[in-house]
Amino acid sequence: MKCCSTNFVAVVAAIMLFGAVFTLACQISDPHSARRAESVLSHLFGSFRMLIARHTYHEADRYFHQGIGHEEERAFDDPFQLLRRHLSPVGHVHLQGRTAVEIMPWLRWTLRADPTHVEAWLVAAYWLQRDLHRPDLARAVYREAALANPHDYRIFMEWARLLLREGSWGGATRLCDQALARWPSPLTVDDETARLDRARLMEWRGYLWAWLGEREKALQSLEIAQSLRPQHRIIREEIVRIRLAQEIAGVVGPGLLKLRDDDEAAHPPRRRDDHH
């Protein structure tokens, strides 16, 4: 009897030890730590951490859908599934407003396990600024994300988007430059998202050059943006305005105004497998 109890204690102790070592591995392999490269624990737990991050990110998505997972194609129906449908919530609903905060613990755990999960950083910042109305926290998230992923242009781009919405033109200018300097890393030049993002960055940079009074540079940027997005009406209008206007320095044009006032300018990064 004593032996059984000892075994039980050993199993629970082993689970606790594993948890402690895993937590330690997360801390030691923190991207801000200088010991990152030499951390044996981070290598040992590398794959496991990716699995954890994948699971917690999936849970964040499930929480966003109020506990309902993605509908899967089923080969047959039977009384068990009928019963399950009555017992478990079904349908397609989203968290809205303040309740969006419920996904935050899962995103934080995702990023503790895998700080290079850029999508999770961007999703966290998006909901903090949009539904939770905490742009200050979103900015802190972008800062942390940039430290963890200094070569990823997407973080600087979304950070710039936030500052554009706030009307912080100077900060947005610096961030657009940083994003363009890093583009297309980590994507490739041929990636469709990367190409569209470059067009957006050139467009924003063009508006900001105009605000700075740099007519030639503004036109150069906007013409590149127009070549990438020829159907974009505001770019066309801005090019005409910048060419014809006497004074452009300090003038907030319709392009910047739209970025500042349009809620739809920002959108959450979509999962590759999200079909909603």
């Binding site: 009897m1 629970v12 935050m104």
Partner: protein
Amino acid sequence: MKIWVLARLVWLEIRRRKDFYLLAMTFALAMVSLLFTDTFGAEGAVRYITDAGLTLAWFSSLLLVISTAGRQLSQDHTSGVIHVLLSKPIARGQYLVGKWLGSWMSVVAATALFYLATWVFAAGRGSHVDIRTLVQAFVLHAAALGMVAALTLALGTRLTGAAARVLAWIIVLVSLFIVDRVPALLSHADPLSASALLILYFAFPQLTLLDLRLRLAHEWGPAPSGVVLVALAYGVGWTVLGLLLAWLGYRRRFFPRDIE
């Protein structure tokens, strides 16, 4: 009466052991550390507390029930207590039901404490846990524990304690993580795998039917009573089947004095 005495002996044994206290401490530690989860500075996240508390309650209760029910028969065989017990006017069926009842009751009592602690932690963070849904979740959880206790006991009639526990864990894990995914997995399975998956689907218990964690955590309100009763009947059915299998495996079993 005899059943009750046997159940009480199991209950007393579990109170003496350290298993529950160790799990309770781990549970409390985990919950306290969850309370300090950094949510990027945003405040108000509570659902994860309920969800994590109930998940820990499920894990802890399964650990307890498999460990408790899995050792009941083997420790009596090893210590020779079985010879003393069976020399008394007690039927083998009564012996098994007494062991099951003791294991089940003690683990259900422990689970009730885990639920209470979860409710306290969640309420402390401002969550409005619906009591009716909480009761439904607890009742179905208790039914699931009854199923697992009966199945583990049935395995223990023919296997050593360790083997019974390992096999019980395999059944539980497959039931929790694979069985309810079979209808989706079948869409992409070849004919041979599809047959194996179908056998798995209908032969293994559907433990997830008795799991209302998500409904409770995401505040969907109570499930329809009729549906809960059907799920409860399913759990009771499996429990009766498990006990019947245990009795069939035990009624003619011979216990030589030099065994083990």
